[in-house]
């Protein structure tokens, strides 16, 4: 009764085909696109987004949502920026940022788990409170960062920019955790059905709490990597990042209904796809205002397919008395 496994494998890789198609189209449109420099550029610019989307994938896998990643990026960035400007060494600022991300993620998780509040209301509230906190600390002024910060952004190891290396490490560790650890498999179980997870003896609250902590930590790290390239934290930093992160994960095959999705290749390719489109549009000098329309349409279609597939599966499994 289940469709042949090969067809399923192909459908899983449809996202990679879509990426190849996009690269092909833009390469034809402008010669400057199909160069290693440009691809390195895309990887560099996508590194921040990918790390945040990796954290978001964990939350989406449990059929949750986190709208506050943009604000976490901003708050963590502002605080660590102020510390560095105030004299703290850059290499100390990194752990501080991650700890901040973890604390904010913990807060999200605590409200979702302890009070059973709908995740998107919790994260919508922390979205605003977080943005407000960041603006309070930075007094709505852009925090210009010293050059050492830019070092991280432009440092190269064996020719590969540091942010790209950090991105690859985060994606690799995330997929390892999801595939090979008990917690990882339980995330998929919780995503499939919280009720059955409890029956199977899984500590539901601990899994959910950890997932939001990971999302907060990734948001902070992703923000750090993005700031290292920008050199400054402006008051609108991280704006709409939550939508981009969800878009990357959903494009990568993560289902909003939980239990389905992978960080590698899924979310990584989803993020690269978004960044390739963005860079392509800029290089072919297309009207930059078109960009949200294109992303919005692609996301809507992907969510539509995901919902129909979920609805049909639920229809088939109806109760029989």
């Amino acid at each position: 009764m289940s469709n042949p496994v090969i067809f399923k494998r192909l459908r899983g890789q449809s996202i990679v085909i879509l990426l190849a198609l996009v690269i092909l189209v833009f390469s034809l449109l402008s010669p400057g696109y199909f160069t290693t420099q440009n691809f390195l550029n895309i990887l560099l610019q996508a590194s921040g987004l990918t790390i945040v989307a990796t954290g978001m994938t964990f939350v989406l896998l449990t059929a949750g949502i986190d709208l506050s990643v943009g604000s976490i990026m901003f708050v963590a960035g502002v605080i660590s920026g102020k510390l560095v400007v105030g004299g703290l060494s850059v290499w100390l600022a990194v752990p501080v940022t991650l700890v901040l991300g973890i604390i904010l993620g913990l807060m999200n998780g605590w409200f979702v788990v302890r009070f059973k509040i709908v995740p998107f209301i919790v994260t919508l509230a922390t979205f605003f409170a977080g943005r407000g906190l960041g603006l309070l600390i930075s007094e709505t002024r852009a925090v210009n960062l010293p050059d050492e910060f830019l070092q991280i952004g432009s440092a190269r190891i064996l020719g590969i920019p540091l942010p790209v290396i950090i991105m690859i490490m985060v994606v690799a560790v995330a997929q390892l955790v999801l595939d090979r650890t008990v917690f990882g498999r339980q995330v998929y179980a919780v995503g499939n059905s919280q009720e059955r997870s409890v029956k199977a003896g899984i500590n539901l609250n601990r899994v959910l709490l950890r997932v939001y902590i990971i999302c907060g930590c990734c948001a902070a790290l992703g923000g750090l990597v993005a700031i290292a390239q920008l050199g400054a934290v402006s008051p609108t930093f991280g704006f709409q990042s939550e939508f981009m992160a969800i878009a990357a994960a959903v494009l990568g095959g993560t289902s909003l209904f939980g239990g389905k999705g992978r960080v590698f290749p899924g979310t990584l390719v989803g993020a690269l796809l978004i960044q390739s489109i963005q860079s392509g549009l800029v290089i072919v000098n297309a009207d930059p205002y078109l960009y949200p329309l294109i992303t919005g349409t692609i996301i809507f279609l992907i969510v539509l397919v995901d919902s129909q597939r979920h609805y049909r599966r639920k229809q088939m499994k109806g109760i029989s008395t």
């Binding site: 509040i117 605003f128 603006l135 992303t295």
Partner: protein
Amino acid sequence: MTKSPNIILYLCLVYYLAAALVTPGFFTVNNTWNLLYNLMPLLIVAVGQMLVILTAGIDLSVTAIIAVTSVVGGYIMSADYSPVDSSSLAIALGILGMVITGGIIGLINGISVAKLKMPAFMVTLTGLMFFGGFAVWLTKSQNIYNLPAGLVDMPYTSFLGLPLPIWTGLLVLGLIYLVLNKSLLGEWIYAVGVNPKTSRISGVNVDLTIIMVYMLSGVTAAIGSVLYTARLETGSPVMGQNLLLDVIGAVVIGGTSLFGGKGLLQWTVAGAFFMAMLDNSLNLAGLSYFLIMIVKGVIILSAAMLNVWGERKVIWSA
């Protein structure tokens, strides 16, 4: 429906007194008008949002609808672009155009949620991004100016003693009150919110109800946008971009349950009044807007907690 007076009514009263005593310039006639002007558009949009939340849905795209309708209205009404020369006709056409645009976006949201079975928050989040981008793309992020005098003076012209925005607000409130408490659609909204399966078996057209609430949310967002556009005298592609917190805050703090089916109109009116009063009083006290953002975020979280806590109390007693 148990008519227990909700806690929010007391909260508004007590806060109003506290603010009047403490904040300078709060308890003046001028500021009360100021408060009402800020309240009206927010109230109109919040009431539309309440209908959606009553069916256990959510409409995050309202601020994008406000922006798109503000731009559409701008193009129709502004002297630079308007196809019609007489200004009163332009205003009528403009407002009609805005309401229709709001309705269409609401229809798209409704059909996606009801017929295509897509999760409400994702449909409207994508709508927020798409239509927000659409408004900016239409105008290349330029505002539209030279709106006709009729519209621009609207907030300041009174009719039988009350300025027009207040009349608009009262009219919308009256209409929504009729829909919610006296009409077939109102009964269906409450039924679908509590249990869509039971409603469907009892002959309720569930899909139509869901589509209607999203359309009404779109239309109320458009009417709110008319007031904002008139007051600011510009059709702006980023109109209302910071309103989402106030709109959803007003409904949640009013006590309307996020799980659907529970909530009265007067609760949201009190909730909107509380949010507007909060903004006004904290502003007067010299708090910077981002401090206010933090306070609002905290208040929504605690209101959601009570919301869920109240829900759980009901389940235990069954």
